[in-house]
Point group: C2
Chain length 294, copies 2
């Protein structure tokens, strides 16, 4: 049984950067006031647990803080809506910005489009923190489109501006723009899809087409990991989404020749390495059976 790991599996530039900022801030923290993120800094429970051990709390709501003044909030990699940042500042909380620069660009481009008078469309998942952070900076409400199935939600405006959640597949953006070409007169599109995400998806698809079983490693709360899982399923091979090596089941590999592994942008290398080792050590029941025949 061969094991192949997709190129680009694991931490992207924005996640690495956010974690460096968070660890540095946690180490430097003097203990005056709380240090925390609002929501997990990245969508990987194992990494977030490590950061919590360094003293970085994860809270759900600024109201949960008893004494916020003098505290430090690391702005998560997905960004936060402008209103939340302003609310935190009003409470005397210091902000340390770990927003991914590509997310920041999507935020700024959406603001630019709104400022230029376009009806703004965000191609992405309505409840995803990144999308909330993009939509939350706009003076007028944006239309959020999860994909090709929601095209009827598109605004019937003459001038429409489009940005994209950085981890969306290009096919979603294309579907939205194609429909707009038929119903709007002027369309301005910023392709804010992160190049690394795009390449990761292409690499994962290429690998999935070749192998018998594909393992997609990453947080169950990670949208880009779930997206990889869905994309790989389109190839027809067996695909499993796991967070850690503990979830592997030997029967998945019974009679299989090649196993592919990829990881989301928020999946650390040590978890991918753990999975690779565990798979290599796995004796699929079928293999064992064959070997035990006389």
């Amino acid at each position: 049984m061969r094991v192949s790991v997709a190129p680009c599996a694991g931490f992207c530039f924005g996640v690495k950067r956010a974690l460096k900022i968070a660890f540095d801030a946690a180490h430097k923290h003097t203990g005056d006031g709380p240090i925390f993120t609002l929501g997990p800094i990245i969508h990987n429970p194992q990494v977030v647990a490590r950061l919590e051990r360094e003293g970085l709390a994860v809270i759900d709501n600024l109201d949960d803080l008893e004494n916020p003044r003098g505290g430090t909030m690391i702005v998560r990699s997905h960004g936060l809506p402008r209103s939340v940042l302003e609310d935190a500042s009003r409470r005397g909380i210091r902000l340390v910005d770990a927003t991914c620069p590509f997310v920041k660009e999507a935020q700024e481009r959406a603001e630019q489009l709104a400022g230029e008078g376009y009806a703004v469309v965000i191609v992405g998942e309505e409840d995803h923190p990144e999308v909330l952070s993009i939509a939350g900076g706009l003076s007028s409400p944006a239309t959020v489109m999860a994909g090709p199935n929601e095209l009827d939600k598109l605004p019937r405006e003459t001038r429409v501006g489009v940005v994209c959640q950085t981890t969306q597949p290009i096919g979603h953006l294309i579907a939205v723009v194609n429909r707009l070409l038929e119903q709007a007169k002027e369309i301005k599109v910023f392709n804010t899809i992160c190049r690394a995400t795009f390449e990761r998806q292409i690499n994962a698809l290429e690998l999935a087409r070749r192998v018998d079983v594909m393992l997609v490693v990453g947080g169950r709360n990670s949208a880009n990991t779930r997206r990889l899982w869905k994309l790989c399923q389109e190839t027809g091979c067996d695909v499993y989404h796991i967070e850690t090596a503990e979830e592997l089941k030997p029967e998945w590999f019974e009679g299989k020749e090649e196993i592919g592994i990829t990881g989301g942008a928020s999946t650390p290398q040590w978890i991918v390495d753990d999975v690779v080792s565990a798979v290599e050590e796995t004796q699929a029941p079928g293999d064992a059976g064959e070997e035990s025949r006389p």
Copy 2:
């Protein structure tokens, strides 16, 4: 044998307007200096011949005029490049603008895009006078793309602006924008396809899918007529492009039940009517044969 004429066959708004301007100018012309168009005012030889009888000459080059000063140039429906208009003015020629307002919009949008610093792409036919008039107004050279087969010609720029020849099928615009979404960061598109052209194409396609023979009536030099002819061919029915009823051949209708007719934007109603009458009067050889049996 039934004959069905597609809705929207015949003159479009821009052609009607251009002809009214041209006939009015020809009637008012006092005879001081020549009155002419540079290239045919619309792409229909029969209509142009009628205008010539009203005194409106068609010339190929301003240099062909012996005494241009005091003359009148009707700017053709497809527009003319800015440099040509300036050249005519310098020669003391009065301009009467019969440019289709939709073409004018495409010209202005292309200029706007160039002014905003976009690499400009014009989706259209390189040698078509409308495309030449759009490209000719720009300070820097535009890329002209005839369609999906030429996508590799697209500029590898970060910011690309797109306009479209008004009579192009939407599929060409979509193909160009889809490729740009994969290689540019910012794309601004003005869908300058004329709504009437779009509807004419849809109507022609619907009719062609239903009938046995499709007649596309219009100038052989008319790009939008040739486009209708090509589109109808995609349905698999027999399609003939004719300029006048004289070209009809009885054998085209042998054993056929339903005949569809459409016309280009520059095809006058009287030519469409002539064709309808001629087809209705046609006794296909096969029909005659059947009827003569005992």
